[in-house]
Amino acid sequence: MRRIKDPSRLEDAKAEAKASWNSLFCGDRPIVCTGMSTCGISAGAREPRDLMRSLLSEEGLEAKYVDVGCLGLCYSEPLLYIKKPGRPMICYGNVSPKTARSLARSILINDESGDSALGAIPELSCGEISSIPSIWEHPMLKSQVRIALKNCGIIDPENLGHYIARGGYAALAKTIGITPEAVIEEVKTSGLRGRGGAGFPTGMKWEFCRKSKGDEKYLICNADEGDPGAFMDRSVLEGDPHAVIEGMLIAAYAIGCTQGFIYCRAEYPLALRRLEVALQQAKDAGFLGENILGSGFDFDITIKEGAGAFVCGEETALMASIEGKRGMPRTRPPFPANAGLWSKPTNINNVETLANLPSIIDKGGKWYSAFGIGRSRGTKTLALAGAINRPGLIEVPMGMNLRQIIFDIGGGVPGGKACKGVLTGGPSGGCIPASNLDIPMDYEAITQAGSIVGSGSMIVIDEDTCIVDLARFFLAFTQRESCGKCTPCRIGTKQMLGLLEKITQGQATNADLAKLEAVAQAVRSGSLCGLGAGSPNPVLTSLRYFRPEYEEHIVHKHCPSMACSGLTSHSIDQSKCKGCGLCVEACPVGAILGDHKKPHRIDQERCIKCGACILACPGKFSAISKRSGAVLEVA
């Protein structure tokens, strides 16, 4: 793209981009779009796409191929959208090589029969989608409001023209036409709060940094997404990197920063690559660098890769890491707004916060604040995972209740199992029980329920998940990721982990439970940073809602979910066993003893509780069962 030297030329560029967008999507060639974010690629999207390409080119048909980001329907990846000439763009889910073949055939004969699928994508269709249901009517998408994700899965993230055709960089042009104070005012009006987890009002944060004295100020985009089960930032960066860059430009202009950094974890190679491409495009087009759009505003962005430490998502540790030091948090004050990166005033925003900005500036803060409830305005992206029918990435207005999110959008718990609860906020969050799902998704309500909104990961658990084991899992994570600086986090998490292990192994007493609570409280109050202070949350909330389950483990040595291997045993019902010996063959450790045609038994000393015997035992016998809490079987 040519360098755009002033805002008026942006209109021309947009017209140009729109024209080429139209010629692409309204042309007479078939178009194949593939969801090629990390989720799509790992689900195997490459294979059907390439197969389709070779099938069509064998037949001499030159179709157009566009790789798009993630639409959020991760459960039905790989996603392929196909547009036959004169027909709407239709989205197909779970595309295998086999379906790719039949889709290729339907393109060749211009057959309408496959047009049902998940729905039509109006944005990519030329004109009417008529009889075909829109993809936005899909149950997972119907109640979503997509602002940060508005381009994800729609545009080619590596094509700046696509972004501009969809209205990209108009907000930048608008921003540089008004004063920085007016920009901050607009963001304040929007009610936008930090989407990285802390929920601090963004406009206010900017104002602190703007007012802070300093010859040089920095802006950092925090893309060090590390919560287990969270992938919001990755999807945005992979699906719409220019939105983040534009957001950074708006923030930098408002605050007065001249240098920006994107701190992105190295485990996101695709996001990093797409960011690099986007940064280069933005530089070439004159959106980044010196004298942006002829306004005299200079800003540049450097990518800094994180080296895989969870704690580097904490802002002070992140800055230390950019400075080349070990990623360890420090106490505040001084706050980054006064003395941040290299002791200069620094503003740090999360990817999602930044991705919301172009729309806020474009459509106004009032428009944004119309979504949401109470002090939580706008929308929030959420990563649905765990025991849920439709895992994926969604964006909903704040205030939607959890039940609606899990059941209406996520499709509920699979396998007819009962929903036990939902974990929000990752390892610093907590588990909200199924009975409490009617609370709205807003910062205050979730905090009151003992958890946090956090970055937006939602892990649904069903009845097979043991709450103690889950707390143990998260503690093991925070313990491993503690930087080791402060005592409560480094040792307290180890103590909590040790006590939880004792409970899951049936060796704990009631005194240990009291000890666990006491340590958890001390870690919460005494830790230096959010990682430590949040680490007891999974323990404390689960104790709040599921205390009987803990007590069951301690008093009755019984794990109701049969998940704690230390409290379960496998046994053979002597009356049902026919001594067929299939389990003997299946057992990897030779723990099953018994003569042929006579009932067998399991040597509990040897058994590793892998469950292979249960699978091996013929259904007509069903002699082997898993038990918990009962006295071990004797032969």
Binding site: T331, E481, C483, K485, C486, T487, I491, Q495, V519, A522
Partner: protein, 739 residues
């Protein structure tokens, strides 16, 4: 500003922490990671407080105090929080003594408990009673530890001078912060519970840039870092403040004495280097205690009376012009003065001193600085000050420690430093710029632009050509030149007008008798050794039976710096005290020479006490002080084509002067056991030489042996010869491996 701590109003200055404010209010807040000399850290979480208007429990060491703050340090919530956190710390710390039911009843078995290879509790620990964690337990009132025991049995890491016991480490990070301004040899490694303090790749300290200054040991709150010498000595009976007897930085030292032994030396308001911190145990090693007199081929012990008469007898017959007294820059003012009086008045002869080049003191260091020479090895404390300079230019063929942190580093070919300095002068005064081998014209030009008002700092080992060039540069730049002294009392010797020793008279055979005090000329070269042997009468006064003493006719045992009251002359002519901490093994130098003077019939003045000597010294030196021409000590020889290596002999931190004292300290000896040559990897592989191989170095007719260290800091074709002698020399040399 005014604020309230636990209801008490305090008024404090700005820039202080909440913890400082509480201290001023007389309120103690426990804390283990905080240390007055280090940046606040906020890691141990024991100093948490409550402050009105601030959420949660901020750490008082990192929270800046501000006007009107209302601080509470002792609420029930804080008390229980501190107890919980301390309990956590102790759950991974050997603490059986805290839970022990028979606390304090184990005194009679203490000796046996020390033999347990692993510290299991306070009574097993060398830091018992001196441990800050113990004090925190008392202050916080923790009586038992009731958490899962998490302590492991990690291996204790042995290093020179001190041991590192990771089992006792509480990860307060003090050692890392103390090291950060010095060597950056250690840092945190790993995450979570496995977090530990480590060198890069867990290499031994001696391979990690550690210079064994002991700053980490001094700040360690627990027994994780404990010096090996005096490990079990506990608290000292007496602490004596004195002056370090090594280089011209004259650091002040706390000598800790117990039962007549020097158990520890600690910095007194200054930073010490390895020599001052760990290099003083020579006072207890191989000391001469009784005078020796030569009987045939043997030196035999005699009484002082007999020895002094022997000296008087031997010297009485020596004409003044055939006598020379050789003293050393490590002697006190009193010793030097008394020796001078003896040599000039009694003997009517000459006195000269090793290592007294004219000194100019650094004073306050401001503006741009140019450093030449290996200051890190010679005057380490000045190097630490230079590291903090904003605008530092370094001229060195090697990547010295200062070159690593300098804002500009010019790296000429070895031996051409003078040319670079002269080019800078030329660029400055005439605008003439020319490139040199290793330094381009541009580099000269840009460096010369930042020279206005520069302070040129020369390490003691640099040659006279460099001094001359540097003087010219300082003049052209409108700055000043600083010449660092080599020895602790070089200044005193200069004030007395004593000359630098030249071996000319000795080698030419003009001398009949010599009196050597505190110097070891035999170590300098084979020729000197041979000439010393030819003397008809040689008296050596020293702490040890040095190579020179072994050739002497009479050997007089002297008292060491720790055994006498006396003075050195410090920076700017100030008087620094030596204070007696130990019972003397020999006699103070000044006493011996004045006693001899009176025996030989020249009782012109009464030298009865050190104060009296100093008094006289000051009167004399004030009027007689002359700045001398420095003798030509180094010559740069041209490198002929047939000699492959350019040999650059350099000073070493671990060997001081002729190494007489440093070689008595076993770990200093371990660190620099033999002469070492640093060689570029390319040269090493061409010669098939690997690390620690012994090679022969032939700089002139004589051959020396040295071990090879392979280092990229040395350019190919040159060798850095770290050896016992202090003087820097550049000459060509052959090197070969015998293997």
């Amino acid at each position: 500003m005014k604020l309230k701590v636990d209801g008490r109003e305090v008024e404090i200055g700005s820039g202080l922490s909440v913890k400082d404010a509480a201290r001023q209010a007389g309120i103690y807040i426990p804390g283990l990671c905080d240390h007055q000399e280090l940046e606040p850290y906020g890691g141990c979480r024991l100093c948490l407080v409550e402050i009105d208007g601030i959420r949660g429990f901020p750490s008082s060491c990192t929270t800046p105090a501000s006007e009107g703050m209302v601080i509470k340090t002792d609420t029930p919530a804080l008390k229980s929080l501190r107890q919980s956190i301390l309990e956590m710390l102790l759950s991974e710390h050997p603490c059986i003594c805290i839970n022990c039911e028979r606390k304090g009843k184990c005194n009679e078995v203490r000796e046996a408990m020390r033999k347990v290879p692993q510290t299991m509790g306070c009574r097993y620990c060398p830091k018992d009673q001196r441990c800050e964690l113990q004090k925190a337990v008392e202050a916080i009132g923790l009586t038992k530890v009731d958490l899962l025991p998490l302590g492991g049995s990690k291996e204790i890491i042995r290093s020179p001078f001190f041991d590192r016991d990771p089992n006792l480490c509480i990860l307060c990070g003090r050692c890392i912060r103390a090291c950060s301004s010095r060597s950056q040899a250690i840092s945190f490694a790993h995450r979570g519970f496995d977090a530990s303090i480590s060198t890069a790749f867990d290499a031994p300290l001696e391979e990690s840039g550690c210079r064994f200054c002991g700053a980490c040991v001094d700040v360690c709150p627990t027994g994780a870092l404990v010096e090996r010498g005096g490990r079990w000595a506990g608290d000292p009976e007496e602490i004596v403040v004195t002056t370090c007897p090594y280089c011209s930085a004259n650091c002040q030292i706390d000598l800790e004495e117990k039962e007549g032994k020097l158990i520890r030396a600690r910095p007194e308001g200054s930073k010490l280097c390895v020599r001052g911190r760990f290099g003083l145990e020579f006072v207890h090693r191989d000391r001469l205690e009784r005078p020796l007199v030569r009987r045939g081929n043997r030196l035999v012990e005699v009484s002082w009376e007999e020895a002094l008469s022997a000296v008087a007898g031997g010297l009485r017959s020596t004409p003044g012009e055939q006598f020379e007294l050789l003293a050393s820059g490590v002697l006190t003012n009193e010793a030097l003065y008394s020796a001078e009086v003896f040599a000039r008045n009694t003997m009517k002869g000459e006195i000269s001193v090793t290592d007294v080049l004219p000194i100019l003191d650094p004073g306050s260091l401001q503006g741009p600085i140019l450093a030449v020479g290996d200051i890190a090895e010679t005057v380490p404390n000045v190097e630490l000050r230079l590291r903090e300079a904003d605008d530092l230019l370094v001229i060195s063929p090697w990547k010295t420690r200062l070159a690593e942190v300098a804002s500009n580093w010019l790296s000429p070919e070895p031996g051409t430093e003078v040319k670079v300095i002269s080019s800078l002068t030329a660029a400055l005064s005439d605008g003439l710029v020319e490139g040199l081998p290793g330094v381009s014209a541009e580099e000269i030009k840009s460096a010369s632009e930042a020279l206005r008002g520069i302070t040129v700092i020369l390490s003691p080992e640099v040659g006279p050509n460099v001094v001359e060039a540097a003087t010219a540069l300082a003049e052209a730049a409108g700055g000043r030149m600083v010449r660092l002294g080599s020895h602790c009392n070089s200044r005193g010797a200069i004030r007395l007008g004593l000359r630098e020793w030249s071996d000319r008279r000795l080698l030419s055979g003009d001398l009949k008798a010599m009196y050597v005090i505190g110097a070891n000329p035999a170590r300098i070269s084979e020729k000197i050794r041979e000439s010393l042997e030819k003397l008809s009468f040689l008296v050596v006064q020293d702490l040890f039976l040095t190579e020179t003493a072994k050739m002497a006719d009479v050997v007089l045992p002297a008292a060491s710096f720790a055994e006498i009251d006396g003075t050195f002359m410090g920076e700017g002519g100030c008087i620094l005290r030596l204070r007696k901490a130990l019972r003397p093994k020999g006699r103070p130098d000044w006493q011996i020479t004045s006693e001899l003077a009176s025996r030989m019939g020249t009782m012109w003045i009464e030298l009865t006490s050190p104060e009296k000597v100093l008094d006289d010294f000051m009167k004399r030196s004030a009027k007689d002080a002359v700045v001398q021409e420095h003798p030509d000590i180094t010559a740069q020889t041209k490198v002929s084509q047939d000699k492959p290596f350019l040999l650059y002999s350099c000073p070493s931190l671990y060997r001081f002067g002729t190494g007489t004292r440093t070689s008595k300290v076993s770990d200093l000896r371990y660190l620099e056991e033999s002469d070492v040559v640093e060689m570029n990897p390319k040269d090493a592989s061409a010669l098939g030489i690997s690390l620690w191989d012994e090679v022969s170095v032939q700089p002139n007719s004589s051959v020396s042996r040295a071990r090879v260290v392979i280092s990229r800091k040395v350019p190919p074709g040159s060798l850095r010869w770290r050896r016992s002698l202090r003087k820097a020399e550049v000459r060509a040399a052959k090197v070969w491996s015998d293997v």
